[in-house]
């Protein structure tokens, strides 16, 4: 087997432009993580393992039949809900929130899995009801979203729960719900917002308040936001150089490997570096949406669009959060932040999109 055929073998069932750009981001992410981590090798190794496991799943999913995915959809949903309930009772607590389940040597974060299982169940549900979609169906779809949303919100994990809600609503929107209905529900949301506000925890309220003016309480709720903006802003055009960012190196920046991993990158690689990364993400986003548009059935389109929206909403919230546009809600940067669950889920999402695209002719009408 010569190199060319090996290459062909490896990339047989893979969308090369998408896979190539994801790999590029992963590489940059690892290099950045090395600096963000204060050159701690052990964390770096476990992140590389996360990536390898993720790529393994991606590769596996690319090579299964689409109907297997369809078959697993309700099970995936039920299992995730079950895991969320387990988290509720037996979860591991950290930073005042209960989000993880310990399994042997590693912990998994069920709320991450929902980023796949919610689009999956919605696509499955709409596909099952394809010929009689009406308000009842949309309402039931809504219930499928509300349940995990509520459970994640209770952990509490405001960022992920809103992300699930947002991703789900977009799928319902794509599935054809009337614009009028969406707009009227939006107004209902506005009206009910005081009640939602009251149900938020103090730290969540503070985070939202700190968005309005993070400098009003620079040592309290706004501290993380301010330190992140200082990191980003001091990066300037060319950045302060890899492993030279003082905000990172001197511990002014919190959570440098997870939520604020891109602040580290912005500080050290500057505007040009940021621009390059954002362009890469835009390329991946556009490629995914293009592939979605090429798909032939509504299950594939809804699922593929749902997963893409979920990934990039996470990206937008994270990057908006570190640049002071959004409050600090603890949403990771896909492909970049340290964390097994997030990494594997992101890569599996890409794997599913590739699978749907590659098999589009098989499920042609």
């Amino acid at each position: 087997m010569n190199l060319n055929s090996l290459q062909n073998f490896i990339f047989r069932e893979i969308d090369r432009p998408l896979f190539g750009s994801v790999i590029l981001i992963l590489l940059i992410g690892v290099i950045n993580l090395f600096s963000a981590n204060q050159q701690d090798i052990s964390n770096l190794i476990s992140q590389i393992i996360n990536i390898l496991v993720g790529i393994g799943f991606l590769y596996l999913i690319c090579n299964i039949q689409t109907r297997t995915i369809v078959f697993f959809a309700p099970w995936a949903y039920l299992i995730s809900i079950f895991l969320l309930i387990i988290v509720y009772f037996f979860g591991i607590e950290s930073h005042g929130a209960q989000r993880w389940i310990g399994i042997g040597i590693f912990n998994i974060q069920p709320s991450e899995i929902l980023k796949i299982s919610v689009p999956l169940i919605l696509a499955w549900f709409y596909q099952r009801t394809a010929l009689r979609i009406d308000y009842k169906i949309h309402f039931l779809a809504g219930l499928l979203i509300i349940l995990p949303f509520y459970l994640v919100l209770k952990q509490p994990d405001l960022g992920t729960s809103l992300l699930l809600l947002w991703g789900g609503i977009i799928i319902i929107f794509l599935a054809g719900i009337s614009i009028k209905f969406l707009i009227s529900s939006f107004f209902i949301l506005i009206i009910s917002s005081p009640f939602i506000w009251n149900s938020l925890l103090i730290y969540q309220k503070n985070r939202i308040l700190s968005l309005i003016d993070p400098f009003s309480d620079p040592l309290g709720a706004g501290y993380h936001s301010i330190q992140s903006m200082i990191a980003v802003g001091s990066g300037g055009i060319y950045g302060r150089g890899w492993m030279n960012g003082t905000q990172t190196k001197l511990d002014f920046l919190p959570e440098t490997t997870t939520d604020f991993v891109f602040s580290v990158f912005s500080e050290e690689f500057g505007f040009f570096g940021v621009l390059a990364i954002i362009v890469l993400y835009i390329f991946i986003f556009y490629r995914c949406m293009w592939m979605t548009a090429k798909m032939n059935d509504n299950f594939s389109r809804l699922l593929s669009a749902g997963l893409t929206i979920s990934l990039f909403s996470s990206f937008i919230i994270n990057i908006g959060m570190i640049s002071g546009l959004f409050p600090i809600v603890g949403v990771p940067m896909p492909f970049f932040s340290y964390g097994g669950s997030s990494m594997v889920v992101s890569l599996v999402s890409v794997g599913i999109i590739m699978n749907l695209y590659l098999n589009k002719s098989l499920i042609a009408n």
Binding site: A130, L131, R132, I133, D134, I170, F173, L174, A175, G176, Q227, M229, I230, A231, V232, G233, S234, G235, G236, I237, T246, Q247, L250, D251, F252, S266, G270, F271, V274, L275, I278, Y281, I282, F285, Y286, M289, T292, A293, N298, R301, L302, A305, I309, F312, I316, I319, G320, S323, G324, L325
Partner: protein
Amino acid sequence: MDKYYIKYILVNRLRFITYFFLLIFFLIILRFFYIQILQNNYYSTQAFDNSIKIVPIAPERGLIFDRNNIILADNKLNYSLEIIPNKNKNLSEVVKNLSEVVKINLLDIEKYKRILKNSYSNNSIPIKSNLTDQELANFVTNSYQFPNVELKERIKRFYPQGSSGVHFLGYINRISKKDLITLDNKGQRENYIGTDYIGKTGVEFQYENELHGAPGYQHIEVNSVGKALRTLKIYPAREGNNIHLTIDHKMQEIAENAFENRKGALVALDPINGEILAYVSMPTYNPGLFIDGISHRNWDKLNHSLKKPLLDRAINGLYPPGSTLKPFVAVAALENKLRMPPFKINDPGYFYLNNSRRFNDWKIGGHGEVDIIKAIAVSCDTFFYGLAIELGIKKLNKTLSNFGFGIKTGVDLPNEKSGLLADAKWKKKKYNQKWYGGETAITGIGQGFTQVTPIQLALATSKIAYPNKSIIPHIKLNSQQLKQKINQTSPIIISDQTIKWVKEGMERVTEDGGTAAFIGKNIAYKIAAKTGTSQVFSLKKGQVYDDEKLPDHLKDHALFIAYAPSKNPKIAVAIIVENGGHGGSTAGPIAKKIFDYYLSNESNK
């Protein structure tokens, strides 16, 4: 609903969402452009402020030497245990724990509280200073128990000569709120970042700018919890300049010792250039008491002492000059062509003003035939009463002010007093009273309203020694400022003949028959002098002054001015011994001790 219709909607909405997301991506790029490029300066400064702590390096204060390189103000390395008040809310507990290692007494705590009260910064404050080697070792081995107590190496002012010369030398003390206002007004506040002390009096105050220097800076990288990681840059401090004084410390000590326990002042000048060789104000006090802020007890002791040790008598002490004024009064007369030899009077021992009011000579029975030279030598009051009346107060004061009386000498020390030359105008203003002829008469013998400082007397004496030299008494050696100032002044204009007569009179003071004849005995050089006695206490009519019967504090002040050697004088001196009785007998020997030292030393050179 049609499957194709759904697909149609889906694809349309998919496109909408794609554009929506692309728009958001574009907005995010704009956001980064705004923060990273447009606001880069602001955030870079913030990042710098976060990570770099600028620590001032206090300059080392300049040393002060006498003219022969004897050190008068020194810096000594000193170890102290200090705490940052904000970090240690519970002082007593820290003290209690610390006491097990290092002895801390009530005075230390009192001092700490005093400094804390006046502290304006977050600098650490010493709880125990001047650690002994043993205490230092004890603390170092147990320092892990006291994470909030810092061992600081400080350079501390030290006055090795103790109380000697304290009035000209002055002292430093912690910077007070008042000092800060002064520094602000001078735009000097930044220079004192990191400095805890400032000159308060004397040379330490006068030459503060030169002695202090300018602070340096250190850029220290700190992490988010404020731990210092490394020094990035050092801009060294500009150390304060050392200062050499005109003072001869040995002479200073001789002079101070010569006063024994008496109060008074002495100023010795080099009459050729105005350098102050000795500058005594007795009693003295220990400047070291002030360095860390003086305790209430010590302050009360100094401030309320009847002996007034804090008063700098040399420039702030105002005394009636008594007969020491006579040589200058003589100059005034001679320059106005009055009483020129061979003019003589026959002194009966009293003088009648307008045939009504009688003024006595100090010597009952009088001095017999007296010309102006003898009048100085024997200090004939009668001669000068008449002289002053004939001359008038205006002309008299004019000459006296040419000698520097009634005007600040311009010495480079703070808060000099100008003394007083009284006249009709002054009296009208002050008391709204008429000026009487009798007041002119007693001005002629240095009594009455006229007040002089010892330094004025010393300067005037120098001007008799060298009338053609224009000098300003000064304490800093080779001062450039002074040279400029001297160039602006002009020498006193006196005819050679006048000076010759007055000098002769002063020389005869230490000869047989003079008022200080015993001073002139058995010495290798000749002293020209004038004695004086100024009344502290006015005798009632008919009362006779009896030295023995009066309590000490009512006794007359003894005054003595002199220069030596009489040909080519090298030193001029003015001495006041408070309540010392007659000038010649108490003040004269002090002058002689100084002259002996200085002139024998001079000839050795």
